[in-house]
């Protein structure tokens, strides 16, 4: 069994394509002997990263690039879109109290990715956005 396994994919913008990424994640995890229980939070991170990217991806190249690098100790999740980018610091931190009574209930993706990961980096410019997440699996 290899100590490190990687998977790369280019996901087209079609409904529920994030499930393909999750299935790939589960297969890598099983290969390394990692339980479903430990991979559960990683699945949420992948889901949020991919749907965020699909929402922001541009028309020139509407695919989203996803890469996993997994060991028995951690997974690094890399997600890139080719949209027009955004200023991550300008995204308001969602608050459940404020959401109650508000019309817009969405906007939780970045908060969840930051909170559920062990390391989170986002880079965004006019050529797109890359998100790199590290999640410990031990």
């Amino acid at each position: 069994m290899k100590d490190t396994v990687t998977m790369k994919m280019a996901l087209p913008r079609i409904p529920n394509i994030e499930l393909v990424a999750i299935e790939g994640l589960e297969r890598l995890a099983h290969h390394l002997g990692i339980s479903d229980e430990k991979i559960g939070e990683a699945k949420i991170l992948v889901t949020e990263a991919v749907i965020n990217a699909l929402e922001h991806t541009g028309k020139r190249d509407s695919t989203v690039r996803v890469e996993f690098t997994m060991t028995t100790k951690e997974i690094i999740i890399f997600v890139r879109d080719y949209g027009k980018g955004f200023e991550p610091t300008s995204v308001e931190e969602p608050d459940i109290q404020a959401k109650m009574g508000a019309t817009r209930k969405r906007g939780w993706g970045l908060k969840l990715m930051k909170s559920m990961s062990d390391d989170f980096h986002i880079q965004s410019n006019k050529n797109g956005t890359t998100i790199t997440i590290t999640k410990r699996l031990t």
């Binding site: 409904p15 529920n16 994030e18 499930l19 999750i22 299935e23 589960e26 229980e37 559960g40 939070e41 699945k43 949420i44 889901t47 949020e48 749907i51 969602p94 608050d95 459940i96 109290q97 959401k99 109650m100 009574g101 209930k105 969405r106 939780w108 993706g109 908060k111 969840l112 909170s115 559920m116």
Partner: protein, 118 residues
Amino acid sequence: MNQEFSLTSETRNNCLIIATSGYLNNVGGETIAKEFSKHFEVGTKEVVINLAQSKVVNSIGMSFLIDIIDQLNNANGKLIFTNVDPAVDKMLSIMGIFNFAGKENSVEDALKVFSGQK
């Protein structure tokens, strides 16, 4: 891996019980919201959402459930989640949802809460 979303619903003692199956995304959230509205419009204010068969959820789907919780709380009603997967539990905790909705291990436990037995 069949993640197609579906739900079943039933009412017991004026409590709406929705059991979901599959990926709870925007489509799943909207489907739950429609089912909820049918019952809410005729006075149902106690709702249980059983997530036993939904191990994968996303925040857009959950935003529909926040809207349901908001409507219920404004009507002095309540929503209780049951059978929540540990990772989903952490997600909902980070979002602060359990400050406004309940959580129980099983549907039966949730019904006991609504009937005052717990």
